[in-house]
Amino acid sequence: MESIMYALVGFGLGLFGFYYGFARLQLKRLIETTPTSTVRSIAMGTVEVQGIVAPAKKTLLTSPLSGKPCVYYAYAVEEYRSSGKHSRWVTIRSGSKGTPFFARDKTGSVLVDPQGAKIEIPKDIRYESRLGIDPPKSVQKFLKTERIPFESFFGMNKTMRFTESYIAPEDTLYVLGYAQDNPHVEEGTGQKNEEDIVIGKGGRVFFISDKPEKDILKTLSWNVYLFIYGGAALSLACLAVILIYFGLF
């Protein structure tokens, strides 16, 4: 009975992977066919820019686990749980937050509002706690605020992992988004400034990465092959298992 459940789940995952592979292909095509704009000549609509992050506000965000000043962060707290023969990592808390920032290139700065963006940045921080290893102080502080115990009933450390990624000032970013008039800036002031235009959600894709375009395309190419062919192969293999299970094959 268990094998059929796995096969059904695998079949569904395979089909999803197949679909996701085409979604990645679409993104890859969009990135490789959109020329990079310089900030000073950005036109309204879908734009691709590459620039260095500069804060737009005096106060930056503070990443929850490592306490780094940043303009965006995403974190996850996971716990290793066992039940009978099975054990797995369970996400017990996760979240992300972003604040508008400037992307600066040699021609100027443009405002980027990361809300709603698909942000692909590597994990900057990976901490673990287990028997004999405490989480770092900054993580303990966060866990205390969030009322997440890292010790079990008997005072022993739980096996947990803490991951965090963030975008900090001076990071170099790739941004593919929709440039539009900043609704928060009054028109007709006669003075062109860096807050007149904001890149945000609005077009088909809003994508931010800290990799150079060439590396993004390389990763996407791998994703496309992996998900399209891998997804198709997985769904077919699982279909075969299902058919065998029902005695049809």
Binding site: Q26, L30, T33, T38, R40, T107, F249
Partner: protein
């Protein structure tokens, strides 16, 4: 053939058909988008060309009192502006743009020899605005040419070439004056 084998082969066929269709729909959509992006990026250049063209009479008016010896450049600029306003094709616009850019560079360089002009508030403002437009134009020309280059490469590559032929898409022109046109440009002092 067992029913299971039929289902399995059917699933393979369905996946292959969906895959091929999705791939070609993606190629089709990309080409259509690229074609529209070219139109849009040309429109973005055109807007700036018009803005710059609107500034030229003001510039000419502010410098002609000072630049008595550069009448031919100013005449060239006026003619190029008229040519630009009459231009219908991309090549004609690119040629007029080329001449205007060249003449403007010369005017701003020569302005260094006229201290009174250099100190003129109106001229300083115009120079700032026009130089700003010139810089943006340079970026947008490059952007347009990148878009055209990407498009031209794709419509000649397999498998895009099949869809491009179906859509009767042909190569687009880069935004640059023809070499033969460039030979006619003479800016003298």
């Amino acid at each position: 053939m067992a029913i299971g084998t039929g289902i399995f082969i059917g699933a393979i066929v369905v996946l292959v058909v969906i895959g091929v269709l999705a791939f070609f729909i993606g190629v089709y959509n990309t080409l259509v988008r690229l074609k529209n992006d070219i139109k849009k990026s040309f429109a973005n250049i055109d807007v700036l060309l018009k803005q710059r063209s609107d500034e030229l009479p003001k510039l000419i008016a502010s410098v002609k009192g000072y630049m008595k010896h550069e009448k031919s450049t100013l005449a060239e600029l006026t003619k190029a502006r008229t040519d630009f306003l009459k231009a219908k094709t991309l090549a004609q616009k690119a040629r007029a743009d080329d001449i205007i850019s060249g003449a403007l560079k010369t005017i701003f360089a020569v302005a260094e020899n006229y201290p009174n002009l250099k100190a003129n508030e109106n001229f300083i403002q115009l120079q700032g605005r026009i130089s700003g437009i010139e810089n943006e134009l340079a970026d947008r020309r490059e952007f347009y040419n990148d878009s055209v280059n990407t498009y031209n490469i794709r419509i000649q590559s397999i498998p895009d070439v099949f869809i491009a032929r179906m859509l009767r898409y042909t190569s687009e022109q880069l935004f640059k004056a023809a070499e033969s046109d460039k030979k006619d440009v003479k800016v003298e002092f």
